[in-house]
Amino acid sequence: MTKQEIIAPENLVYKKPELLNDTPMHYCPGCSHGVVHKLVSEVIAEMGMADKTIAISPVGCAVFAYKYIDVDWQEAAHGRAPALASAVKRLWPDRLVFTYQGDGDLACIGTAETIHALNRGENITIIFINNAIYGMTGGQMAPTTLLGMKTVTCPYGRDPKLHGYPLKMADIAAQLEGTCYVTRQSVQNVASILKAKKALRKAFEYSMQGKGSNLVEIVSTCNTNWRMSPDKANKWMEENMVPFYPLGDLKDKG
């Protein structure tokens, strides 16, 4: 095949979603963020909401999410994204409003904002990337770091006597009256990616139908700070993260 034949439209088998722009991503090779960004972009476009989406990015690795997905973005202070989203959705009820947060942002410094936004039943979706570590600041212990897991601030492994226990935010969220849909997904293979996309679509739709707040946790990897190859990180996640953070829907009131 010639190059011209290869790029002919009828031979197109796969393409980057339209809302994902050409800015080179700063994420490490093997990181789950890129996959989730792609899914979010696809779902927004498929729902026809590209002109009606207001997204909130966190502080952490996804701080620059606004550079990659072509919707309107607000960049929040660390942990405060759900507070921003609450106000935005109340002021613009017909907009698709979601936050995109990591474990440090959502489950540590922003626990109060997260729980209260969810409990108020704000018609928003919170996308929660849980890779059990602080990525942007260089691999420190997160609220979701597993027991025994080594990070630069628990170099001898997370010890509950010293550091307390990992926090299961989705389990907490599922108990709140205000949440409509709480699910835990992953994106390490094709099957899981397709499931995660369905979950995102469902959450976004519920939020637009005014059914309450939605939390989509994505159990993810951080191969760089886990000090593993991407492939090994995926495997380690399946063997260690998933047993503690089991996948599937925790609540679906929709």
């Binding site: 590209a50 002109d51 009606k52 989406t53 207001i54 909130i56 701080v63 606004y66 072509d70 919707v71 309107d72 973005w73 607000q74 960049e75 929040a76 202070a77 405060r80 507070a83 921003l84 989203a85 609450s86 106000a87 935005v88 109340r90 002021l91 613009w92 907009r95 698709l96 109060a112 904002e113 209260h116």
Partner: protein, 360 residues
């Protein structure tokens, strides 16, 4: 309530009624004495059923100010109110809003500190407000009302200034102005802006990509130092413009004054009584009342500094604004401070004694 009707209400209530009337889109707040009547009045008035204004009791002042950030980033007229300890919690959000160049109104009905302090009135948040309580090089447009009427009038003015300069604005009041009742004529009703008006007036706002325009991004983050310096310079240029255009003050009996009191807010009210008593005793005292604390009326104070024999900075704090007065007059005239602390408001007679000391 009909337009132009004279009514009696607390300063805090006036803030709430004025907000509803001036097309405010959203209020986000958390209870704290002595300003809780703002949220209580809004909750009782149910503006969401009339003007469509959103009213939300947040889980904390931290959440309140970040809700304001979110709302302001969409071009809406949004506000919060609190009192000193709550305003301290909001400093992060205020700095972010200044950095992201977002217009919003924050009302501080201040009380005595430091710490949990007292619920009684105080002006001890002057430094925090005008010197930048949060991190980074920024300024807060600050209006200091001295009456319930001004509490009502400054809501719209603060929004206008905030949007003109794309910067947060603060109404710095205190427990006395917030809690006292006076006659007030509420501002006339002004409709909330439509989606189209917001899109036109705030082309930067994150409203969703109306008409699939290029995405708007609201952020205070810029990791490239050269770019960040440019951002800072742009913000500073805006502040210089604001200093040029927006200084507001009240001259009171300064024409023949030999002594000058500089006081803002409730202290300025006390000062007027002091002036009446002092003038009965033959001491010609006048008042310069800064209405904008930032930008500060330095030029007018410098002019008056050449006319008078002494200046007394009357503040309900340990002497904060006095530093700005001294800078303004460049040591050309003696500048003294008098004030009370801990929630005690200076009484007129004790201030008259201070004036007398200056004349000796």
């Amino acid at each position: 309530m009909a337009d132009k009707e004279v009514t009696l209400m607390k300063g805090n209530e006036a803030i709430a009624h004025a907000a509803i009337r001036c097309g405010c889109d959203g209020y986000f707040g958390y209870p704290i004495t002595p300003q809780s009547e703002v949220l209580e009045t809004l909750a009782a008035e149910k503006p969401w059923e009339t003007t469509g204004m959103v009213v939300l009791q947040a889980e904390s002042e931290v959440a309140s100010i970040n809700m304001v950030y979110g709302g302001a980033a969409t071009g809406k007229r949004v506000m919060t109110s609190s009192s000193s300890p709550g305003i301290s919690l909001m400093q992060e959000g205020i700095s972010y809003m200044a950095g992201a160049e977002l217009p919003a109104l924050i009302v501080n009905v201040s009380r005595g500190g430091p710490g949990l302090g007292t619920i009684q009135p105080s002006q001890a948040d002057y430094f925090q407000t005008v010197k930048g309580g949060g991190h980074g090089d920024y300024r807060l447009i600050t209006l200091a009302p001295a009456s319930v009427q001004e509490m009502a009038d400054f809501v719209d003015l603060a929004f206008e200034l905030a949007f003109k300069y794309r910067n947060p604005a603060m109404i710095l009041s205190d427990g006395a102005i917030g809690q006292m009742m006076e006659k007030v004529v509420l501002p006339p009703f002004k409709p909330r802006r439509t989606e189209e008006q917001i899109a036109k007036e705030c082309p930067w706002a994150t409203t969703g990509r109306i008409g699939m325009r290029k995405p708007n991004i609201i952020t205070s983050l810029e990791l490239r130092s050269e770019e960040m310096e440019q951002n800072n310079l742009r913000i500073q240029a805006k502040y210089r413009e604001c200093e040029k255009n927006e200084v507001r003050y009240e001259d009171y009996m300064t024409a023949d004054a030999e002594y000058l009191i500089v006081a803002f807010g409730s202290a300025a009210r006390i000062a007027k009584k002091v002036i009446a008593i002092a003038r009965e005793q033959g001491i010609k005292v006048g008042l310069l009342r800064p209405i904008t604390l930032w930008p500060f009326p330095s030029k007018r104070i410098a002019e008056l500094g050449k006319q008078v024999k002494g200046i007394l900075s009357l503040e309900i704090n340990a002497g904060q604004m006095v530093e700005d007065i001294r800078l303004a007059v460049e040591c050309n005239v003696p500048v003294k401070w008098y004030g009370r602390l801990g929630g005690i408001i200076p009484e007129p007679e004790e201030v008259v004694e201070e004036i007398k000391k200056m004349t000796r």
